[in-house]
Subunit: 156 residues, 2 copies
């Protein structure tokens, strides 16, 4: 597995996302990688990321599916152009819609694995399906519709 | 408007949710209230809840829709039984599925308003639609399918 994550290739001024920005010291700093044709990220929530005691709160699960989805979208877009992720211009995707199905309570205190698959890549849009596992068991799955970041969102 | 929020009626041992638990000192402590037939919550994200600089990250928006949805579900369930929220047994809902449509980038630095409506209440399931506004403009909307917390999730 590569040591540099998808998110490590984001331009510096677009690396402040709470979910996955390498420059957000308060955030989750999710790191996503290729694993064959799928993508994977692993993260252990902190004790305060509680829902009902003992379980991970839904917003955390939604957040890691969201950020793994946009990261996977960017990586897939480079791959489709046969470009490395450090080549220019950079790809950066934002979320148009997010769906999460909570299949069973996600236990707190163990590493979670998020797996992604590209189900569609067309023009500026990439659809990624994602599944979240704890102790090898499926806890949640969902879908991210990611679109290339509009120019007018660029930091001034 | 009442001063006590839906979440303030959750039993103490079920009040640790990062999104809305009054006893989670690290969390968002979302507070939801009735406003006529709708429900409303207002919250101002912190500066580090960034997506692309200047905007709120998607996981935060998902989290407040999620928690406002489960809170609205509980309030609606009491209402359907014509019971006050401090009567027993308590209602506590968890999320079966969450859908969020990001309609436009949610600006960071202003108070967000989440509005909820019950679209279905049947047995142990409540469906809530929710919209998130910033400066009076719709930024996101979505749907929460909430179900009564299974007994086996109760903290031991």
């Amino acid at each position: 597995m590569e040591t540099k994550a998808f998110q490590d290739y984001y331009p510096d001024d677009l690396s402040h996302c709470f979910g996955c920005g390498s420059k957000n010291e308060h955030g989750h700093q999710l790191k996503s990688f290729w694993d064959g044709d799928e993508t994977v990220a692993r993260i252990t929530p902190e004790q305060h990321h509680t829902a009902i005691p003992g379980y991970v709160y839904g917003g955390f699960v939604a957040s890691i599916i969201d950020c793994h989805g946009t990261g996977t979208a960017a990586a897939a877009a480079y791959k489709a152009e046969n470009r490395s992720m450090d080549s220019l211009p950079p790809f950066r995707f934002v979320t148009a819609s997010l769906k999460v199905n909570y299949r069973k309570p996600t236990p707190l205190g163990v590493e979670l694995e998020v797996r992604g698959k590209v189900s569609e890549l067309k023009g500026r849009k990439v659809i990624v399906t994602a599944s979240v596992f704890a102790n090898g068991e499926l806890c949640a799955d969902g879908e991210v519709v990611a679109v290339q970041m509009p120019e007018n969102m660029l930091p001034k």
